[in-house]
Amino acid sequence: METVINIGYLVAAVLFILGIKGMTKPKTAVRGNQMSATGMLVAIIAALLDNNVVSYEYIIIGVLIGGAIGAFIAKKVAMTDMPELVAALNGIGGGASLLVASANYLESQKLAEMGQFVPTYDWSIAVILSILIGAVTLTGSFIAVGKLKGKIGDAKQVRLFKWIVKLSLAALLAGAAYFAAVDPVNSDLLIAGLIILCLILGICLVMPIGGADMPVVVALLNSYSGLAGAAAGFVLGNNGLIITGSLVGASGIILTSIMCKAMNRSLTNVLFGGSMSESSGVSRSENDAFYEGKVKFSSADELAMLLDGAQNVVFVPGYGLAVAQAQHATRELAGMLEKQGAKVKYAIHPVAGRMPGHMNVLLAEAEVPYDQLVEMDAINPEFSQTDVAIVLGANDVVNPAAAEDPNSPIFGMPILDVHHAKTVVVVKRGLSPGFAGIPNELFIRDNSLMVAGDAKKVLQDTISALKDL
């Protein structure tokens, strides 16, 4: 039976790998996802065959509760809220790993009493690691959700949090050493204390990170949720868990590094550097002085006239587009321009939206064909042939200072070169600075026009103006 079960886990792991492989193309992705789901089913059946499983009623209760909640969430969630959902699911996954490790600890205690279990160093280390990663992922993720929702602002006392982090890490090390070396099976209080400590650690690690950096944090916590599973696999000696957990861990780490590169910051800087606008931002009056009298304001009617003769149009969507729910209006305007014979593309910066690939999902929801979504490196050389570039609620990712001004705090960050287009139209609610907290030189350039207003309203006005032309 043991052999059958282990082959089951192996089959599941292979299905997960093939499933992720399917995700490399939009066409095969749906099938890939179904393969992964099949893999999960195989793994669950294998687990049910385990000879430690003698009754099913509790298992069924757990599955029914979790399944109902999960299905409800998946049906209800709006695509704009995907970052919050993924962050919350990371936390839930971490929480599950924490609970599994704790339950296993209690069982091992009983087994040791029965003389069937002798704790080893690697088991003790795995239990501690599993608790640490699981607990940090749990609380860290929910702080990230709060920050994404804007309910938790940027922390002022960055130093205090760092101090707590250092202190709890030291306490954790001491506790772990005692646990592993002295008494691994009768340390209930110590384990409870360590769990609480790790939960606090999760909060204090994420609190000082700026809200603008949440995409990086969510990707990193994604990785942690996988590593938490792998750690639980070490505790249980289950290779299926280890393989799967490390796959997810690798995925999160890759996405984290892509996000960091796109923001031209190191991971340590994101995690421990505090909020960016806090350190480099300008005051409101400095911001106003920068723009004063230099921005050319325009209107939806003028935008329509401009677009009427344009051959190459590039939309540059930012998070402001998602906030204004303007995806559908964008798609409608793009459709009209295409009918007039213009070529329409969408330039997607890697950190557009609030998590990796978020903007693509939002535009796909509005039925924008994915082959029109062009990545930064591919679209940048094309801007010099672009007649009109329309920036919708994006700011820092189109700031030419990142490419041209070595004194700028964002210098070196890869940007979309919209300033090379013949005309740049910026649709934005106001002149407030973006996440980096600095003014944007693009808005005062000769080739740029600003249409102030909510992206959705401006686009709708432009559509009706175009119809009247």
Partner: protein, 94 residues
């Protein structure tokens, strides 16, 4: 200790496989990739099932923790796969 080294070997090799495969996923699909891997990390349900299966070395507390873990992991699995499917179908339409 031998068991541990074997597990560690599997872990390290699996990380390399993961990096190879995931590097090929285009940025367009990064959000579904994250929600999909999220669902996959619900694999801890395996550990939770074994803990709440009611064999003789479980205690009341360990069973309660196990059931809670099953519920949490199932949320992850069901919500993760369903929402990923929802997103991917939007890409498929074209």
């Amino acid at each position: 200790m031998e068991m541990f080294i074997l597990s560690l070997t599997i872990f390290v090799l699996a990380v390399f496989v993961g990096v190879e495969v995931i590097n090929k996923v285009p940025p367009t699909l990064h959000t579904p990739l994250m929600s999909g891997t999220n669902a996959i990390s619900g694999i801890v349900v395996v550990g939770a099932i074994i803990s709440s299966g009611g064999s003789e070395h479980t205690t009341v507390l360990s069973t309660v923790l196990g059931v809670a873990a099953i519920a949490l992991a199932t949320i992850n699995i069901v919500a993760g796969f369903m929402v990923t499917d929802r997103m991917l179908n939007m890409f498929k339409k074209k």
